[in-house]
Amino acid sequence: MSWQAYSFLTKNHPKATRPTGDVRWSAISALHFYQNRQLELYASKEARRLSLRQLVFFGRHMNEERLIKSANYVRTELPIRIAHRIRDLQALPYVIVTQPEIAKVYELYWSAFDKFRRFPEINNLSDNRKFCDLLETLLDEHAPVIPNLSLGLSLCSPHVPPDSLDSFMRRMLISRISRRVLAEHHLALSKSLGRHSLNSEDPRVGIIFTGLDVKHSVVKCARLLRSRSHGIEDDNGEVIPNKGWPEVVVEGQLDTTFAYIREHLEYILFELLKNAMRATGLKHRHNTTLPPIHATIVAGKDDVSIRITDQGGGLYSTGIQSPSDLFSFSHVRNATRMDDSRIGALRSASSRGVKATVAEQVGGWQVMEEHGGSNAKDPERRAGIAPHQRMGLGLPMSNIFATYFGGSLQLVSLDGWGTDAYLQLPKLGTNLEGIEF
């Protein structure tokens, strides 16, 4: 039986359990090996990297012809990028890819690759609609990739040197971001075709906001975070009840705007502010008031910079050597990757998936608060008072988002006092995507 056939039969069966180990793999390995020729065809092509400006320019004057062109670009570009990543996975040690979490990612990628390469050329809007449906389905299906990959690699960390592990993860995640950008941009362009695409209130082209107001995003993330009603769980499992969150004071050049993907900017700000608030709350748990967090916004010549300063005690810990270790997926650099709580959190996330957006997290809180998190084991979680478990993905993902168009994120610690996070994002839109091929 072919691998695809087997996969099709088991995929939608509600009780389909994943057979472990040898049976399934031996069934597919020979077929799979020889089918690899198709993959190699695509993997041998170079990815066509774009800049933000090109994405905006192309999307600005949308008409049917250009939309079809965009659809075909996405249709042919995505399988090339996926093929590169599958080749990357294939190069990993056998024992790692046969790990259930990585195996699952591998399958998802193969399936997506196959679907894209079989999709016929798009000639009209009706074809495009079918294509958009495929895109939406795959975007949803691939939600488990991030937690599964993180979990799988954390578990494999003892077997892979930290540099290789981190660079592998970086290539995987940045490619993933790039494919989602292309897909979502095309979906947005498709939706807005025919409608006046330049809303003067919030001008955007596809998923790019051409007049993204930085202060507005900072304030929005701060507001969302400060509305949380749950407390803080410290590293020993003790929960500090909520007594409010620190204020976020915004300073600098407050009218700074630039063209960027709002979801990316807000994800990073959200994660950084979340960490800052948590650290502040923990450090000052015995105080009545919490010192504020300062966000400074600056527009330089080529970049927009945002510095987030907190008084949360800094990043000194025995598990890391320097703040940049927090971006690493390797337990050698960051010992917490192997913590039971992290592994556990990643496991529960791997079934529902992680898209790495602010909306997803906020939606999660609301669900928890409304339904009392009835799946949770302990009463606090059920009551929605306890915070959700920490997966440890915020910083590595923020770092990768930041570097996607050539920006940077740096964390600096004033050990014992607080942390400064320096986020720099390019504002001219001329840098190419930072994916590797």
Binding site: T296, V298, D302, D303, S305, G314, L414, D415, W417, G418
Partner: protein
Amino acid sequence: MTLKTGLLFRIRATARSLHRHHCCRYHAHHIAEPQGSQLSQLLATYAAHSPHPITLSSLVAFGQPLTPESLLHSVSYVLSEIPRRLARRARALETLPFIVGTNPHMAKTLKAYRDSFQFLATYPRITTLDENARFTAELSQLVESHRNDIPTMAKGFQECAKYMSPAQVSKFLDGAIRNRISVRLIAEQHIALSRALEDRPKSGPTSHYGIVDMACSPAAMIRMCGEFVSELCEATLGAAPTIIIDGHPDTTFAYVPVHLEYILTEILKNAFRATVEHHYTQFGNHSTRTLPPITVTISPPPSPCSPFLSFRVRDQGGGVSPSNMARIFSYAFTTAGHSNPDDDTDGGGPYAAQHVGGSAAVGEGTSGGEGNLFGEITGKGLQVGLGTIAGLGYGLPMSRLYARYFGGSLDLFSLDGWGSDVFVKLRSVDQAGNAEI
């Protein structure tokens, strides 16, 4: 007699044969110049033996307890260890390319090292406190005479720019400065201990052990340096910002105050100048708006495992442009030779001054080159902490060397268009028992 002491005797014997007059003073009474080749031979002998790695704790130990005996041990340490280090420096200069060695500035420096080496290597053994007192006065003068070594060499290197790469020069200067710091530490520790023994009946208990202050207060030092820099700034630029000290101002730690003074003075000079100039650029020279303050945040060591005191100096002086960031820690010579105003079309900001050569430092009493604002300051005969090396184009790289000397660090982060943050971590020297000098 051990091999080592046997060797020492042989060295001393050679030395004695060169030393004509028992109590000869360095500047007078020289009956006959030692043969050039004999001196070279002596130098070679000393240079062949690596300096004994001295730890700070052993230097401090001469003062615990401070007795005539321990002081005489200290002086014999000085007489064996400093010549070794001077010999190494002389050797390093002698191995530079011939054409570089013929440069008058380099030749002058080499002669100075050879002369000092000869003086110390041929100095007779000291057995009484009186002899020590005499020697210590001469040692003081000797150290003083080397005040301009680094600027002199830097000027020489600038003139030799076509014969050596910037990387080679940096490496050489790094070595020279570290060496200089060691020599001064050893010498000044001895001088301080000598004074302490003399003054002992008069002075009360102190936290000082020679040049180490076990209760060094960064806040007090900041206030002191701040006042000095403020006057300097008012005098040259017409205005000066205030300093706000926050964090844990009462923190104290064990350090060599004169090092901290140097580091702080350099950083504050940069911050003050940047603030005033940026302010003038934005609001005009006669603006009456208040200057934004400089904020220094002090944080004590977070744990015994990490005995580092940290502080952050934050200014709103406009920051460092990305193009200058790579250059701010360089020693100010480029193949262009002199600071090229066209290089920095954005003015380069205050840190661009780092690129002006050390001509002002070297001039005997001249006020230095046009582009060098601090030339005026040295022309006014103001000295800073450790001599005229200060503030004349090498502030940042040298401060960093000083910070790193005992295992600390210095980093600069910038928000281009807004301001800079300098993070300094200094290791408490009572914990750095094994830190080699």
